[in-house]
């Protein structure tokens, strides 16, 4: 399985999507993530493990607490897989060249 497939698989689960969403604004501990959710803390930990394995979530220790946050590299791997490196690059070039061409015509 490629990195992107692992990511899509990980986000295919609604509980994991919810957890991922909760981390979008700031890092949180497991108990903060589990707060108000219908699943147990151990279940949340298990889901976090899958998200971490897919490269979507990072964990860092702060004192005795373990804080979870979004891993930007997972998002970038997904985007490269979705867009295609050279497609995205050429589209960016096209926009720049056409802006320049318009400028050239105006100056004439």
């Amino acid at each position: 399985m490629t990195a992107a497939e692992q990511i899509l698989d990980a986000l295919g689960d609604p509980t994991r999507r919810l957890i991922f969403n909760r981390l979008r604004h700031r890092t949180r501990s497991v108990s903060e993530i589990a707060e108000g959710m219908k699943v147990s803390r151990p279940a949340v930990s298990q889901h976090l493990k899958v998200l971490k394995g897919a490269g979507l979530v990072l964990v860092r220790a702060e004192g005795t607490r373990r804080l979870y946050g979004i891993d930007i590299r997972g998002i970038e791997a997904l985007r490269s897989w979705l867009d295609g490196f050279w497609d995205e690059t050429l589209v960016a070039f096209k926009k720049a060249a056409e802006r320049e061409a318009v400028k050239g015509r105006k100056h004439r």
């Binding site: 490629t2 930007i72 979705l82 050429l90 061409a101």
Partner: protein, 164 residues
Amino acid sequence: MSEQRAGDDVNSVRKAISVNAPQHVAWRVFTEQIGAWWPLAHYKIGNVNAVDAVIEPRVGGRWYERGEDGSTCNWGSVLAWEPPSRLLLSWDINADWQYDAALKTELEIRFIAQGKRVTRIELEHRNLDRYGARRDQMREIFDKSGDWGRLLGLFAQLAEGVAT
């Protein structure tokens, strides 16, 4: 975007795009102004934010990114410099997105005038066999395209925007 396939050449990725700009403008923007359009926010290899990209305008020149701290990271070198129609670069970035002078995959860009105001750009990234066991993984990253992906890509951008 149209796309060509070199038969079943698994060691090459080909792309083409038509640009509403004269050939000499397309060449100039691609080479002199690469730092202005290359997606440096996520296609860079250094540890710091990249603020510019440069192609040195001569055979044997380097092409590289410049970080916000002034450091540079090589991407490869200029193998052919034929303004305004053909550019051949080596792409020496390995599967771990690190510079590797020995990698030597090739990136050829042709600028084909189609009338005075339109240029067709043909890009070929070849010698992907040099990625060895990771060729398929890299080919997928370089080649993949599709409009459905852009929709999901919006989600990725949103997530990234909030995360940074």
